[in-house]
Subunit: 490 residues, 2 copies
């Protein structure tokens, strides 16, 4: 393992804590994980969890972190443990903890003022806002000319869904721009025609958020949805592939065809039911649902089906976006006929929001609007992240680190076939299945004790979501510790 | 007018721009508004609006602000105009622009790190998080023991609604804690019993947000709702009072009774329909819908009706909370039998979130959860705001400034009875009706030209939402310019 890392030809080495380490993109990082407590969470974390539980539901807390000391790819906790973090706050820290460039942003007094005087951006934006939208957000747009900023993934999708409905109804109305009195009156009492019976088609295993519109398109885990009313909207099967892909091409093509057929049937069924499909929403890789991939051909055909039926096509890049797949947007791997109608983002993008085609832009103001419409402070952090991404060629870094990670995982899968299978993913956005849900949980916990913070997804997968500054030597540390763990479990 | 202001007995005076002004709570504020362009938006703003329109729907933009120069109660725009701002970014700036204490927050390196290393608070909170929730948020709780942080008003309400549904179903299940297989399976396909047919009762004129759950409880303006599918949930009338209240006590009591009767009828009707009401959601003052008030007795009785029918009682203080009514929470004016089950907040609170009773706390983790669960940086700003609020007795300030504003508005209403009516509100959270929607629009535009930034609500009201640092002398400037305008219009 280590030979591979030493071959990575990194120019300088640092000596930290007595161990020679490859030079890190974030200087001062620990050279390896360090675990000092016998249990994780350690005693200080456990005591803080008990404390937190008196003021809020805290059952999901894994440990208490020390964000003053965390650095780069290393998450420190309050008990003095140092984890190599391949999960990064559920895929939401783009270039590691306390990145020096990110810490600089608000030393600039004008940036600080933009943060503190948070405006109602839809009504009173600051002078620099149009340029920031253009130079920061649109500079990395996947071919779409307009953008709206939002707060988080759920609200980005909620508002993008509204654009899909609005655009669909615009086409139904044809030339007529204004609304009828009956539309205006009926919408206020939640009734058609003003609040029309329309639907969005989503996929089994999908996760698009937890607010009530997005939750109606989320089908990954029961605990997210139970007891919450939902819209009756169509749900299509998402391809379930056999791995390795190259050995199962024919079966997987048939699986694509089966799913696409169901999509068309559901569109037809809901049209007949009087609840037409205004849009199709899909993740390029189903993330919370288990890192389920679908082929470029699947996405190409799906987009054509959407077009054919006059439904908008929304790709949710909340988790996949911002570089971790080795391209800025995961769907850029798919070679689509044209850009999707809407692409939503959040997490590593730091600000939520969505890119959209002009056809998806509401003709009237105040339809997709809210008090804040995002947060200028987050866009300033994104600007800093993108500068680092460009200067350090982080997309190349992701592809290099991802190649090592993936080949290492494939090797492990071969060496431990009864424990691991179905290695998959792009860039460092990778996953592997454990043989069972309980083994998966055991592995995530076991990795933690070896100083690796990873995450589960679906019911038996482990997902990797490192920062874009995750390097070859980090990959090798991860693979090394995972091999140790598998050897112990075996 | 000015005599009143001089009597306000403020200790020191400052000389700014040649005019003697009372000492401002935010030193360095302009002494009065200054308008230098003939049109508003001015030429620089207009050019920026055209620019912005190429990248996003910008029809709602009023002007471009200069947040580097804005200070205290004064909003500066890019054309050099200085407005006395009684609207404050739709009621969301608590103590004015560039408040020196707020600008200090992120000079502290550890605060800066808390901002930049934004954690997944439900999984890896920082060491100080339990104390921050307790010392900052719960220190001003309206009698509720638990709190969850969220991002914005819509998502605070969305997640609070989920708590209402979850708590309602918990009571239906009785002792049984775990879910049945049929519940787990059906919820994933948006079907009962897992995704149950439940409803929330809301009111005509209400505004609770723009995501699809909250939008189903919003009934203020058609433009917010048109073309968006909605849940079939019951909508009750909100009292419409005659003013002045003291001369119309009997009619207004009858109005309360009529509305409450409808509430009970709707609960019964939706129970029979198989869509029981899991909760009642209401604003203490309907804000976007026109600053519609209801009496303390109305709220007391409404809470009792909710209890009687096993429905949760949620008060949405997103716009009314954080001191502007002269109490921290507007519903504290109502002398309720007990605290509401849930109180939601955002806007001037800087962080979104909700307080809740223990009964509303989900027993299982991950049910009300998302990646970020708020933002520690916003809580640090809130901490700073609350320190200033306490040190400067801003609730007293609000009551003093509000008294001057209200008596001044009542005087104007008497002097211009064909233009103004129905002055109402608490603290500085005040509104007045114009005789017609077009007159209202004319007045908001006219005030802008006189250097006053105000806002409309409902179809013919003007709402005042100044910062808590809005003082007696600001009130007098506002009243003075409004009188000038009314004289000109008359």
């Amino acid at each position: 393992m280590w030979a591979k890392y030493l071959n990575a030809a990194i120019p300088k080495t640092l000596k930290i804590g007595g161990i020679r380490a490859a030079s890190s993109l974030v200087p001062g990082e620990p050279s390896e994980p360090k675990i000092v407590t016998t249990e994780i969470p350690g005693p200080k974390s456990r005591s803080l969890i008990n404390d937190l539980d008196t003021v809020t539901q805290s059952g999901s807390v894994q440990l208490f972190a020390d964000y003053e000391k965390s650095l780069g790819n290393y998450l420190m906790d309050v008990d003095g443990n140092a984890f190599l973090d391949v999960y990064m706050q559920i895929s939401s820290i783009p270039i590691g903890y306390n990145h020096p460039e990110m810490l600089k942003v608000f030393k600039d007094e004008n940036n600080l003022k933009a943060l503190v005087n948070r405006p109602a951006l839809g009504s009173f934006p600051g002078e620099h806002w149009p340029n920031k939208l253009r130079d920061v957000l649109l500079s990395i747009s996947p071919g779409l000319p307009n953008v709206m900023t939002m707060m988080c993934g759920s609200c980005s999708n909620e508002n993008a869904y509204k654009c899909l409905f609005i655009a669909y109804q615009k086409h139904q109305r044809g030339e007529k721009i204004d609304f009828s009195d009956i539309e205006k009156e009926s919408c206020l009492i939640n009734e058609a025609p003003g609040a029309p019976k329309l639907s969005l088609l989503s996929f089994f295993g999908a996760f698009h958020g937890r607010t009530m519109g997005t939750l109606s398109t989320t089908h990954s885990k029961a605990i997210h949805k139970i007891d919450i009313p939902a819209f009756d909207w169509p749900i299509a099967p998402f391809p379930k592939y056999r791995y390795p892909l190259e050995e199962n091409a024919r079966e997987n093509q048939a699986e694509d065809a089966r799913c696409l057929e169901q999509v068309e049937e559901l569109i037809e069924q809901y049209r007949k039911k009087g609840v037409p499909v205004a849009g199709i929403v899909i993740e390029p890789i189903q993330s919370e649902g288990g890192d389920n991939e679908a082929s470029p051909e699947f996405f190409q055909k799906l987009q054509r089906i959407a077009k054919k039926h006059g439904a908008g096509f929304l790709i949710d890049e909340v988790q996949t976006g911002a570089g971790a797949t080795g391209k800025m947007w995961c769907h850029e791997h798919f070679n689509l006929d044209s850009p999707p109608d809407i692409v939503t983002f959040s997490k590593k993008m730091l600000t939520g929001g969505f890119y959209h085609a002009l056809d998806q832009r509401p003709q009237q103001p105040y339809r997709v609007y809210n008090t804040w419409l995002g947060d200028p402070g987050k866009l300033l952090l994104l600007e800093s992240f993108l500068k680092v991404l460009k200067q350090q060629n982080l997309l190349d870094q992701v592809n290099r680190s991802g190649a090592i990670l993936k080949s290492g995982l494939l090797e492990l899968e071969k060496d431990f076939p009864f424990l691991l299978n179905s290695v998959r993913g792009r860039g460092t956005f990778l996953a592997v299945n454990a043989a069972s849900p309980s083994l998966r949980d055991q592995m995530v916990a076991g990795l933690k004790k070896k100083g690796i913070m990873s995450g589960g997804c679906g019911d038996h997968s482990i997902r990797l979501r490192p920062a874009l500054t995750f390097q070859e030597h980090h990959a090798n540390i991860f693979l090394d510790r995972l091999r140790q763990l598998l050897t112990e479990i075996k």
